[in-house]
């Protein structure tokens, strides 16, 4: 079965610190992995994705993520963090066949960056 786990429901850190949000996945095939961000009352905004190739992918808003096949992880990173990064972050696994596709999301991690 395919699934995504974000073990940290809430993360709080100080502005200027480094942030790393954890994501692990379970999937029998080569994974395509995404990160989205959701600001309060808004929709999901695409940050970055890993398809193949370089295991460190860079996205919008200064974020990057590292794919590690050895431990099935795709952690999101940014340094330094800014108060405007406070939001909920979702990691997702892209599932596709010849006839359909979908994103399977993790539970999300709420990030609070405090001054």
């Amino acid at each position: 079965a395919q699934s995504v786990d974000q073990p940290d429901a809430h993360v709080t850190l100080s502005e200027g610190a480094s942030l790393e949000l954890r994501c692990s996945y379970s999937y029998s095939a080569a994974p395509y992995l995404f990160w989205y961000v959701q600001y309060p009352g808004q929709s999901l905004q695409f940050l970055l994705k890993y398809i193949t190739g370089d295991t460190v992918v860079k996205g919008t808003k200064g974020f990057e993520a590292e794919f590690r096949k050895s431990n099935s992880s795709f952690n999101l990173k940014k340094s330094p963090a800014h108060w405007s990064d406070s939001a909920k972050y979702f990691c997702a696994l892209f599932i596709a066949s010849s006839s359909f596709s979908k994103l399977v999301f993790g539970q999300g991690t709420s990030l609070s960056v405090v001054p």
């Binding site: 995404f34 929709s43 695409f46 997702a92 010849s98 359909f100 994103l103």
Partner: protein, 114 residues
């Protein structure tokens, strides 16, 4: 980036009534999705729609749910009849292809069933 529009942003209805949620996807996109999110929690996949057909649906996509996109107009999610547990924010998304194409999400419709 590409915009997906959802109408209305809020809808309040009585249990048992019918409701239709409307989505205007990105203009050149061919694949459409509905997701359900309760109280800012996890995004749950409902359905994937392409070329006039449901391609994949989850167990959350109950018999009371239906989707269509007549003549390339709005992509709609209809719930008939509604139940209390249908209260949630429903997000529409679209993509241009199947091969790990980015899904672009609308701003959501908050549905409250009383």
């Amino acid at each position: 980036g590409p915009k997906v529009l959802q109408i209305p942003s809020h809808q309040i209805i009585d249990m048992g009534q019918m409701v239709t949620l409307n989505c205007d996807p990105v203009s050149n996109h061919l694949y459409f999705y509905w997701y359900k999110q309760i109280l800012g929690q996890q995004m749950e996949f409902l359905v994937n729609f392409y070329n006039g057909k449901v391609m994949e649906k989850s167990k959350l996509f109950k018999d009371q749910f239906s989707v269509e996109r007549p003549d390339g107009s709005y992509f709609t999610l209809k719930i008939q009849p509604t139940a209390l547990e249908d209260s949630a924010v429903y997000f529409c998304a679209s993509s241009s292809g199947l091969s790990a194409e980015t899904l672009y999400f609308g701003s959501g419709t908050r549905l409250t069933v009383l």
